[in-house]
């Protein structure tokens, strides 16, 4: 078991999400950055879909009540084991009573802590991912007890720290496909999407990232239609909204671009003020 001593800014349990319930209006949810979360799981020898802790901007403080192993990936929030710095993307052995804490955010925006076997709190509709209205809790609170799938014994320590792709955190390139309504934009609008940088506004969450500035828009709303994580919507006032993992299942704004899966992961590590550039 793991006790939450401090939850951090926005910390939740997530796995790869909830599939098969979109027809009931239930979002996919799941880790925002699948690349980093999978890295943490794989380095522990877990299945990629094992549930992990997702921390946003500031880390949590956690007390472990059992011997196990963990791996932290994604954003660098200066993790510490009993106040001694530990490496990212490397297995760390944990003894009963150990405390994991985090310091200053050095790069990225979301960090993942995987535990050997995965976390196993409330499962709803086939997934451990927290989402308001589907699971009892949508974030972790102080004094929460987190259960671990402890049926397996931790692996022998065998992996060296893995070098991760630096570009995952420092590229501003966001690779996209044309969205279903892309062709309705004028040539000038189309090219202005790719010839300028956009800045991430403070309206950014697990549901969507809104960009600052606006695009001249003459498109009318569409008949409500399916959307996906990574769908870029153009609102009537010309704002661009990029839907993320907790997004609604359908929407009525024109869908002008669609992020590649890898680009959603890259965007998940960005926050207010960061610049991005779309690339077809």
């Amino acid at each position: 078991m793991v006790k939450v001593l401090k939850p951090g800014l926005y910390t939740s349990i997530q796995d790869l999400g909830r599939y098969g319930y979109q027809n009931y209006g239930v979002p996919y949810s799941g880790v925002m950055d699948v690349y980093s979360a999978s890295m943490a799981n794989v380095l522990l020898g877990n299945e990629v879909h094992a549930a992990v802790i997702e921390m946003t901007m500031t880390g949590a403080t956690l007390e472990f009540n059992c011997d196990t192993s963990i791996c932290i990936s994604g954003a660098d929030m200066a993790p510490k084991l009993n106040k001694t710095p530990i490496k990212l993307n490397k297995q760390t052995s944990i003894k009963k009573g150990d405390i994991i804490s985090f310091g200053k955010l050095l790069y990225g925006f979301r960090a993942y802590l995987a535990v050997f076997g995965g976390f196993k709190n409330e499962k709803a509709m086939g997934s451990y991912s927290m989402y308001q209205g589907v699971t009892e809790q949508s974030v972790l609170f102080k004094n929460d007890d987190l259960l671990i799938n402890a049926s397996l014994k931790p692996l022998e320590k065998k992996h060296a720290a893995i070098k991760i792709r630096n570009t995952h955190f420092n590229t501003k390139k966001i690779e996209v496909f044309k969205g279903p309504e892309f062709h309705k934009l004028s040539k000038a609008q189309q090219s202005s999407l790719f010839s300028q940088d956009f800045t991430i506004s403070k309206e950014n969450s697990r549901m969507a990232y809104q960009l600052t500035g606006s695009l001249k828009n003459s498109l009318k709303p569409i008949i409500t239609s399916p959307v996906l994580p990574g769908t870029v919507q153009l609102t009537p006032s010309g704002k661009l909204i990029i839907l993320m993992r907790d997004c609604q299942t359908t929407g009525g704004y024109p869908r002008i671009l669609q992020l590649k899966e890898s680009a959603i992961n890259i965007l998940a590590q960005k926050f207010t003020g960061d610049m991005i550039r779309f690339s077809l």
Partner: protein
């Protein structure tokens, strides 16, 4: 299966199929039938199907997707005469209390429309609505069929909190908020029914294509129904209709 459909690649692993861009029950039926046909064919690449008014999104698993081939497969399936798909659609009777306690925007609507509250309630509760799909929020039904006289613009400033069960009108649409949420629709009543329960294997009772009728109940009836629901013994009224 007679419409001219378009097929678009949407993300690495989805195909968006679109019908003519109108809200129409015949189109809805065609969407639902094609969706069931695809489901019954158990195409191994497909992990999820979701539809809206005039569109169907076919979502595949990773790394098993060639758009051209897959599109041809779907096109062939659409035109191919298959076994009859039985839908077993239902008509549901949903109790709604339109009392002022719940219908907080009824007064304003009545003034603007120069109608009595009673006639608004009557118009709203005598229509048979069609469930087009569930989307937006978990358990939120997109209903078609709202009487033109009841079309009401969304509020200019949305409320930050609309209570669970609120029955509302927004533009040409009416619906029920399955859970507490922000929202800009005009609230005319409240239903004690659970529209979304994540603990049930099938979290919503209604399916796309089903019919809904709202039945006006008093506050006392509302409270009685609520009590039965909380005790887990309430039985929602429904009848099977022809698909």
């Amino acid at each position: 299966m007679i419409y001219k459909l378009t097929y678009k690649l949407f993300s690495e692993r989805s195909v968006l199929i679109e019908w003519p861009a109108i809200i129409d029950e015949n189109i809805l039926n065609d969407v639902i039938l094609f969706k069931e046909k695809i489901r019954n064919n158990k195409i191994k690449e497909i992990v999820e199907l979701k539809h809206a008014y005039n569109s169907l999104l076919v979502i595949c698993g990773d790394d098993c997707f060639v758009f051209g081939t897959f599109k041809k497969k779907l096109q062939k399936l659409y035109t191919q005469k298959g076994p009859h798909v039985e839908l077993r659609l239902k008509k549901w009777e949903i109790p709604v209390c339109y009392d002022d306690v719940f219908g907080i925007d009824l007064g304003e609507m009545a003034l603007e429309k120069n109608m009595s509250k009673k006639s608004i309630i009557e118009l709203h509760s005598k229509t048979v609505y069609t469930v087009y799909f569930i989307g937006f929020l978990p358990g939120f039904m997109y209903l078609g069929g709202l009487n033109r006289k009841l079309h009401t613009p969304r509020k200019s400033t949305p409320r930050s909190r609309i209570v669970k069960g609120a029955v509302a009108i927004g533009g040409k649409q009416t619906g029920v908020y399955p859970n507490e949420s922000p929202g800009g629709w005009n609230i005319i009543g409240n239903s004690p029914i659970e529209f979304f329960n994540p603990k049930n294997a099938i979290p919503c009772f209604a399916n796309a294509g089903d019919k809904i009728i709202f039945k006006s109940v008093s506050i006392k009836e509302y409270k009685d129904i609520k009590m039965l629901i909380d005790a887990g013994v309430y039985q929602l009224e429904s009848e099977v209709i022809d698909g």
